[in-house]
Amino acid sequence: MRKKELNIRAPRTVEKKPFWVRFKKEAVFHIMIWFGVAFLIVFAYIPMSGIIIAFKDYNFRSGIFGSPWVGLKHFRQLFQDFFMGNAVINTVGISVLSIGLSYPCTIIFTLLLNELRNVKFKRVIQTVSYLPHFISWAIMAVILNSMLSPSEGIINIVLQNLGFIDKPIAFLGREDLYWITVVVASIWKSLGWNTIVYLAVISGIDESLYEAAKIDGAGRFARMRYITLPALSGIIAIMLILSVGGIAGTGFDTSFYLSNDLNYNRSNTLSYYVYTIGLRRANFSYSTAISFLLSVVSATLMLTANTISNKLTGKGLF
């Protein structure tokens, strides 16, 4: 049976035609791809070659090619820069806090959503929970500024009325509260959206597993614990890899809108620092050195996370 199948398919793949004959037949598709290739050459590969300015002292007058080479000067500077170390701490801190809090929240929320019996109610909650994903960070900033305002923000008023605090807290004006504030805000924004992937996997679980478990006397929690959660482990691993790969770039939007002189020591993240150095202070070469390092670290993190996940769970991205 297998052999027969192979025989039927064989002629198509084995067939060897001269290069030009084959190419002419395929030309339309190659041309389609070339549009993409051309785009990437201009918008991805040319900027990549622009990284050489990290090894030069870029100035506007001489341009990329005319500016003098300085070797590893900017990379050496990087290790002596107080704000660079500070940015590393903030980026890693916010990422770890964010991954540590958002995964449990998302998974619990997914499981609870999945247990809702009323389909209509479930649909409404889902649609509502997607809403914050669609708003921009500019809008987020408006919302946060008004919700967290020490004078009239509802959060402060609720906390005061419940007796947790005596005086209003300026959440965005304090170093020590900056991390947790932006992490909670980000969870608020993405909680519902992040459930989509998990819910889709859950909807693919064989219903008979649940039936069998029910007959064996497994209650709701047992079914969640022994059927739903194991089924989610693969996708959780994949999402974690993606999160780890994104650590280096964490925090641009929040820092762009919420960073101020009062919280700068804790809101100065790497991607924001690249922007401050590069476009606010116009130090192109130094900024590029940092972003080059970030790119390398990102790719390495992604590959490492993938390898670890492959070893531990047998599941990974590639």
């Binding site: 598709f29 509802i154 889709a200």
Partner: protein
């Protein structure tokens, strides 16, 4: 014996009932926490400006007014920004989806010569990039600074989206294409009449994601434009947040346009909220209708990603 099991069952069902009630209650709390901030902003945007600065508002406007919205829709700057936002979203989405869709169609032919190398060339850009400054220098060299096209051209194509689309093309039965070819349809006709209509769900998904991205984008406006003529709604919002001067400017503008007589008690805070609602409403109206598409699209993404 029998009585025993049924009592176990009874407690089980009672427990389940309790769980259900608690669960619904929890979901209502989540729903409230999600919606309240939006509700608050709506309330402020419909409230009188002077009144809003005197005491906090919570669930209902104290002093109703439409002045804030009236100010926005009669303010030339906001209207112009809204037009730019709409233009960049509509043109951006249409060009992005068509360009990416075509490239993905070429890439989806697995038997193509050298496809492996094409894929490597494409995938590499997903893991490594030039970074902020080299990209900025490129945009400048291309003459896209202060040019409307800076919103369109750099986002013509996305490798990630083309992978999503490709995965969807794969799910279309090859027999369909084969049949059309036998009937004498050319490549263009096959794409336009068979592939594109069959892939509408994924195109709707990409269009939504890209549209939201375009509508919400602020960074390109911030760094690639200087004049006011290319300001988008998000950029105006950003200005209102990031600098007190913008609000001052707005006050002066209001005074200059004679608004002081017409809208005696408008304040920046209520204007800001009204602008925010004005900016958010279009997306809020669109996404619930595309929900079933994007749920599917995200799934393809996470499997193929």
């Amino acid at each position: 014996m029998r009585g025993n099991t049924s009592s176990i069952k009874m407690t089980a069902t009672i427990n389940e009932k309790i769980f259900d009630v608690v669960n619904v209650f929890l979901m209502l709390i989540v729903g409230f926490i999600t919606l309240y901030p939006f509700w608050y902003c709506i309330v402020v945007s419909f409230n009188d400006g002077l009144d809003a600065t005197m005491a906090p508002l919570y669930f209902w406007p104290r002093k109703w007014t439409f002045d804030n919205y009236e100010f926005i829709v009669t303010n030339e700057r906001t209207l112009h920004a809204a037009m730019i936002s709409v233009l960049r979203t509509v043109i951006g989405v249409v060009t992005h989806v068509s360009f990416t869709g075509v490239v993905a169609y070429g890439l989806s032919k697995r038997w193509l010569m050298g496809r492996k190398y094409y894929m490597m060339f494409f995938m590499f850009t997903m893991y490594f990039g030039g970074g902020l400054i080299p990209t900025y220098l490129l945009i400048r060299a291309l003459g896209l600074i202060d040019n409307f096209l800076v919103y369109i051209i750099p986002s013509l194509f996305s490798v990630y989206d083309s992978i999503l689309i490709m995965a969807y093309y794969d799910s279309i039965p090859g027999a369909l294409e084969e049949a059309a070819r036998i009937d004498g349809a050319g490549h263009f006709k096959i794409f336009a009449r068979i592939i594109f209509p069959a892939s509408l769900p994924i195109f709707a998904t990409i269009a939504l994601f890209n549209g939201v991205g375009q509508w919400n984008a602020y960074f390109d406006t911030t760094i690639y434009t200087r004049s006011d003529k290319l300001l988008t709604l998000q950029a105006i919002m950003t200005k209102m947040i990031n600098s007190a001067e913008a609000l001052q400017e707005m006050n002066e503008q209001m005074a200059a346009s004679g608004a002081v007589d017409g809208f005696a008690t408008i304040k920046p805070i209520t204007i800001r909220m009204a602008t925010m609602i004005f900016t958010t409403v279009p997306i809020t109206l669109v996404y619930p209708f595309l929900q079933k598409y994007f749920v599917k699209g995200i799934m393809i993404g996470s499997v193929k990603g």
